[in-house]
Each structure stands twice: as structure tokens, then as C-alpha cells.
């Protein structure tokens, strides 16, 4: 089926390029995962939701736009995680066949008793393996980053505060996590837990309370709560003025209001609420943020794997285009014109389709649409698209192999 010797030699000639185009996107993906701060994103989302009307329009999407998976799927795999592997695929597909025919060096491989079909199959296999390994590396190191920074894979049952509190209480993590009242009943445990989370003691108490009554939390905000929310917002805006900050920045760190009496006074005045009530609201808001923070890093392993599988399949299909034209043409310039031109056109169409509804139909002109990152994030329908990518890729690779086997070579 494949020729080990050719595979080894191809690997020898190509591994450096592969390293470069794998290491860079891997580092970028790790960076995006590491700098992802659910608190900040949540704060921004709160702001957006509170703008009258906008929250209703976005609805459920808020949830999916703010998750780490969404950040990766709709940002990383659409730009750096797409362009760098694409450059690699274009360069390699061309150099595996067309450029060797163009230069004439293919004559040496084909003057050995290795069948043409076997040569071209081995080259195709190399390209597919290289792409697979690229995404394998990106995925693996992505997991490493997710675990190292967000503890999202293992030990997520015990948040930092539970661990700190259980040390103080001298219980094991499990017991404490299952009965948070143990913390509430112990002053030192509360202090340790709050410190571990980096929040005030009183906010922490509210957080624990919310956490224990999480089930009873009403989903739809009542009229009264909405009114409160509005008052609270005007208070925050006033406090931001007093602190000379952007309101958006302040929402991500509302504890600042509590620490500054000047800001607190402005906020109380603007909101028209008594100070205790306002503080209680802030505490509650902060505690809710903590809870969503816990949820935010609630990272779907399956979703992440699917995103990467999708990216691999997309590149399997795209590389089949570049490979096909590398097999068809004897000249590098022709092979590149189509083998690079078409995937780049797909990229541009896909990008433009996201600019607005008038351009949305362009997405039907792009293979990249089948990657369906958004569908994966919301756990929607994406398997048929994956199958389509796999079929397109397989067919084009087979056609390329057949063409190369039959054609005249100027060697």
C-alpha cells in the first residue's frame, strides 16, 4: 500500500516545515486558552445583556458566545489555526508531487522498481498524517493548557476555596464539597475560602448561599428584579464616574466600589437605594459571577475534541484539493494557482459570509462552512457536515492518485 522508504525520505525532507507550522498554532491556541478569563467575558456579557433589547436579541447565544470552546471554535480555528496549517498544506502538497515533476527530480524516484501508484499513495498518506499530527499536537497541548490554567479536566469538583477550607476544617475535599455549611459554620474556613477565591468574606458567604440554593434559583428574572438591576446599573455607572473608570471595566471588578467610599456614595446616590441594599446587590452580583465563573470553565471535553476533529476533517478536504492539482499539473505555477487559489477563495468567502446577512449566502461557496464550529459549541447538528468533509477529501485524494498514475510525465 505504502512505501516505507519513500515515507521516511519524505519525512526527512519535510519535518522542519511541519514543526514550524505546528508549533506556532499550538502556542497560539495555548495562549488563547490561558488568557481566557471567564470573569472578564462574563462581565462583558452582563453589560451587553443589560442593554435594553440587545439581551433579548442575543438570547441563548450569549451563553455559547462566552464559553472557551466558542472562543476557540469561532476565533482560533477561523484565523491563526486556519491560516498557518493552510500555508503548510499548500506548500507541502505542491512539493510532494508537482514541484518534483516540474524540476525533474521525480525521475529518480520513478526509475526505481516502486510503482507510480505506490509513490503517489505514500505522498498522500504523508500529507494526511502530517495534518493529523498537527491537530493532534494542538489538541494535546490545548488540553494541557486547559488543565494547567483552568483545572477544567481533573479536580474541577473541588474549587480552590473548597480545598483551602477543607484544610482549615481538617476534612477531606469530598465531605466539604458535599456539605458547604461546614464552611459557613466556621469563621476561619470562610476566611480561607474567600482568600482562595480572591473575594471578600461577605461576598463569599453570599456565594456559598447561592451555591447551596442553586436548584431553587428562578430562571426568569421578575419585574422587580429587572427594576433593581436597572437601579444597580445606574449606580455602577455613577461609581465608575467617581473612580474615573470605564463602566465596562468596573463591572468586571465591582469589589472596587466597596473599597472606595467615594464611589459607594456616588453609586448609592445615583441608584437611589440604601447603602446596605446596594452592597447586598453588589455582593449578590459578585457571587453570581463566581458561580458563572465556575460554570465558565466547565469545559466540554467532547466539544473540544469535536472542534479539533472538525478542523482536521476540514483540512483533510482542503488538502485533497491542493493534492489533486499537484497531481494534475506538471508545473508548479499551475499547481499552486489552483491548489492554493481555491482554498484561499474558500477562506475569503467564509470570512465575508460572516460580515452581514447580505453576504451570508457566500457561505454556500465555501468548504469551510462544513467545519460548523458554532454547531459544535451549541452541540447541534454537525456529524453530516463531518461526513461530507470526509467524503469530499477521500474522493479528491483518490482522483489525484488516479490522475498521477495515468498521466504523461516529462521526466
Amino acid at each position: 500500500m505504502f512505501c516505507k522508504t519513500i515515507f521516511k525520505q519524505t519525512l526527512n525532507q519535510n519535518w522542519k516545515l511541519w514543526m514550524i507550522f505546528t508549533i506556532i498554532p499550538t502556542i497560539m491556541s495555548m495562549l488563547i486558552i490561558t488568557v481566557y478569563d471567564p470573569k472578564m467575558v462574563q462581565g462583558m456579557m452582563n453589560m451587553i445583556q443589560n442593554v435594553p433589547g440587545v439581551g433579548d436579541i442575543l438570547g441563548d447565544r450569549i451563553e455559547t458566545m462566552s464559553s472557551l470552546l466558542a472562543m476557540l471554535g469561532e476565533n482560533f480555528y477561523m484565523l491563526p489555526g486556519y491560516i498557518l496549517p493552510l500555508i503548510y498544506v499548500i506548500m507541502t502538497a505542491n512539493s510532494l508531487i508537482a514541484s518534483q515533476v516540474d524540476r525533474g527530480s521525480m525521475a529518480y524516484i520513478l526509475s526505481t522498481p516502486i510503482k507510480r501508484t505506490k509513490v503517489v499513495r505514500t505522498q498522500a498518506f504523508y500529507l494526511i498524517t502530517a495534518i493529523f499530527c498537527t491537530f493532534l499536537v494542538i489538541t494535546t497541548f490545548g488540553f494541557v493548557a486547559v488543565q494547567a490554567k483552568h483545572n477544567a479536566l481533573w479536580g474541577q469538583a473541588y474549587t480552590a476555596d473548597v480545598k483551602a477550607a477543607s484544610t482549615v476544617l481538617n476534612f477531606d475535599n469530598d465531605t466539604v464539597a458535599n456539605d458547604l455549611t461546614l464552611i459557613l459554620n466556621n469563621q476561619d474556613a470562610v476566611r480561607a475560602g474567600a482568600k482562595a477565591r480572591g473575594i471578600d468574606d461577605d461576598v463569599y458567604i453570599v456565594y456559598l448561599g447561592l451555591k447551596m440554593s442553586a436548584a431553587e434559583e428562578s430562571a426568569a428574572p421578575t419585574e422587580q428584579a429587572k427594576e433593581m438591576q436597572e437601579k444597580l446599573m445606574s449606580g455602577i455607572v455613577a461609581a465608575a464616574d467617581a473612580l474615573d473608570m470605564e463602566a465596562a471595566d468596573l463591572t468586571t471588578d465591582m469589589s472596587k466600589i466597596k473599597g472606595n467610599s467615594h464611589a459607594m456614595a456616588a453609586a448609592v446616590k445615583a441608584s437611589g437605594l440604601p447603602q446596605e441594599l446596594f452592597t447586598a446587590f453588589i455582593n449578590r452580583q459578585l457571587a453570581t459571577d463566581e458561580i458563572t465563573f465556575d460554570k465558565g470553565v466547565d469545559f466540554s471535553v467532547k466539544g473540544y475534541l469535536m472542534i479539533n476533529l472538525g478542523a482536521f476533517l476540514m483540512f483533510f478536504a482542503i488538502s485533497s484539493i491542493s493534492f489533486l492539482f499537484s497531481c494534475v499539473f506538471n508545473l508548479t505555477k499551475n499547481s499552486l494557482a489552483l491548489g492554493a487559489g481555491i482554498p484561499i477563495a474558500f477562506f475569503i468567502f467564509h470570512l465575508m459570509s460572516q460580515f452581514g446577512s447580505s453576504l451570508e449566502n457566500l457561505k454556500y461557496l465555501s468548504l469551510n462552512t462544513l467545519f460548523a464550529a458554532h454547531e459544535i459549541v451549541i452541540d447541534g447538528v454537525y456529524i453530516p457536515q463531518f461526513i461530507a468533509l470526509a467524503v469530499i477529501g477521500s474522493v479528491l485524494y483518490l482522483v489525484g492518485i488516479k490522475v498521477f498514475k495515468e498521466k504523461d510525465l516529462p521526466l
Partner: protein
């Protein structure tokens, strides 16, 4: 059955380029030369023999195997020097040769080392910075190292200096002694005349003639040019019973054809004359083909100065 049989091969690239209805048969152990100008279709035929191009018509059988269908199998017997030297990416000649040996399944590099020594090649040099001659030598080593039964060489001496050319001819003669069948193209008559048993001339994709070089080297009809010291001698000599092909009265020169059987009579007659000089006009392959060319040239409307 001939070892290599080319029958009715055709590849039309348009504009009269390609080759048309080529027929050749090459016996085992024969060294076969294939001569023609640039663009005459030499490389096209070699690519067809190597199974890189599919013939539009006709077939090439090498040792009973089809050059297109059984191309991979045939490479177990064939060493090949391409007309255009472009190596795969490799840091040095040594690495390239080692990789090539791997692909050929060749373990023993002693023949490679032998040829490297003969050609005075330094294979450790950077492959990309090699001179044309060095690259050609490397390509020759790659084709000869596996000791294949058939060698197909597309203008193998391009870029070699005269000294190395001689070395190369020596290597060819060695291979010939081992009973190898060699098919080599060239645009130089001299080269093929001295190395090949048979030479085919190709022009515009068609074979003009196939000639045994032995016939040329052992030609019994010699041609001599004589210049006499005086006009009297000249005038007297042309009355003798010889086959004069040319008489130049102004120079007092004659060109005379003498068969080897007649040589003694020729010299005894000459004893009575005063000559300025006597030279033999060597009959060469080039001349033979030139004659053919001008003949076919006349047929095709006076295109006689192709060579």
C-alpha cells in the same frame, strides 16, 4: 526476439514535434546509439522506454515486458541517466546516492565507489552547489551503481570535460564487456561512433537510418586526396585508371577512391609522380549521415544543412 523491441511508437505533440512510427530492435549485449539534433525526439523515445510517457500508438517491449504497463517491474533491470539533471532535496551527493540505493533496494555500494573513483567525483559536496559536470557524474553513479542489465542514458556526457568523457567511455566499455545492453542518446556523432555497435539517426521524430558502426570503422573503400608538385604530373595522373571523385585543376589536386584490394597498384603508380602531399579523407559516421541527410533533404525540398 530482440531484447528491446520498439514497434510503431508514436507520440504527437503537434507542430511536428514528438515521434512518429519509430521501429527499432536492439539485441541483448548491444550498445545502441541514438543520434539527432536538439528537439529531434530523442528524449521523447527515452521517456516512452522508461514508462514516463504513454505511447499513443505502438509498443515498446523490453525483455518481453511492456514499457508502460510493467514500468515498475522493468526498473529492476534498468539504470537511467535523465537528460535533465535535477536531484531531489538532499544535503550532499553521498546522502542522495544512499537514498537512491535505499529506493533501489541496493545494499552493496562497492560499484558506486568504483565509479566515483574513476570519475574523480567528490560526492560529499553540497548537491545544490555542484557544477554541471559534477552533477552529471553523480547522475551517472546513480544509474550505474546497481549493476543493472540495461542502461538507458540520455545524453550522458553533457557537461563532462574531454578527459572525463574518456573515462566515461571506458566505463561504458567495461559494462559492455559484462554483457550489458546500453541505449544512449547523443547529439555528437564522434561519441557514438566510438562506443556504439549500432547507431540510429533520428530527425523530426522519424528514424532516417540505422547503421552498423563496424561497417564504418572497417570501411574498405578509402578516399585519398593528392596534390601534385607540377601541372604535368597532375595532367598525367588523371589519365590513369582510377575512380576519381573530384579533380581540381587549379590546385593540382585529385580526390580518388581506392578499394583496399587496389592499394598496391595505387602506390606503385604513385611512385612515378612527384607529390606535395597525400592524405586519407576519413570516412566517418557523420559523413555517412550527412550524405543521407542531404539525400532526404533533397526529397524534402532542399533542407540539407540540418546537421
Amino acid at each position: 526476439m530482440p531484447y528491446i523491441e520498439i514497434s510503431g511508437i508514436k507520440k504527437d505533440y503537434g507542430d511536428g514535434r514528438g515521434n512518429f512510427d519509430l521501429n527499432l530492435s536492439i539485441e541483448r549485449g548491444e550498445v545502441f546509439g541514438f543520434v539527432g539534433t536538439n528537439g529531434a525526439g530523442k528524449t521523447t523515445l527515452i521517456r516512452q522506454m522508461m514508462g514516463f510517457l504513454r505511447p499513443e500508438d505502438g509498443s515498446i517491449k523490453i525483455n518481453g515486458l511492456d514499457s508502460w504497463e510493467d514500468s515498475a517491474e522493468l526498473k529492476r533491470y534498468i539504470g537511467y541517466v535523465p537528460g535533465e539533471i535535477a536531484f531531489p532535496d538532499a544535503p550532499s551527493g553521498t546522502v542522495f546516492l544512499r537514498r537512491q540505493a535505499e529506493l533501489l533496494g541496493l545494499k552493496d555500494m562497492s560499484r558506486a565507489d568504483e565509479i566515483i573513483n574513476k570519475l574523480q567525483l567528490d560526492p560529499t559536496a553540497n548537491l545544490k552547489r555542484m557544477s554541471k559536470g559534477m552533477k552529471q557524474k553523480t547522475a551517472i553513479v546513480a544509474a550505474f551503481m546497481a549493476d543493472f542489465d540495461i542502461l538507458i542514458l540520455d545524453e550522458p556526457t553533457t557537461g563532462l570535460d574531454p578527459l572525463m568523457r574518456r573515462e566515461f567511455v571506458e566505463i561504458l566499455n567495461e559494462e559492455k564487456k559484462k554483457g550489458k545492453t546500453i541505449f544512449m542518446s547523443s547529439h555528437m556523432f564522434e561519441e557514438v561512433e566510438h562506443t556504439c555497435d549500432k547507431v540510429a539517426l533520428i530527425k523530426e521524430g522519424r528514424i532516417i537510418a540505422v547503421k552498423d558502426t563496424l561497417e564504418i570503422r572497417h570501411n574498405t573503400k578509402k578516399v585519398y586526396k593528392i596534390e601534385f608538385s607540377s601541372a604535368e604530373d597532375y595532367k598525367l595522373f588523371i589519365t590513369e585508371a582510377f575512380d576519381f571523385s573530384e579533380q581540381r585543376e587549379d590546385y593540382q589536386q585529385v580526390i580518388v577512391k581506392i578499394n583496399d584490394t587496389d592499394i598496391n597498384r595505387f602506390f606503385s603508380v604513385l611512385k612515378n609522380y612527384h607529390m606535395k602531399f597525400l592524405t586519407e579523407i576519413k570516412y566517418s559516421l557523420e559523413q555517412y549521415f550527412k550524405n543521407l541527410y542531404s539525400l532526404t533533404g533533397e526529397n524534402q525540398g532542399g533542407k540539407s544543412d540540418v546537421l
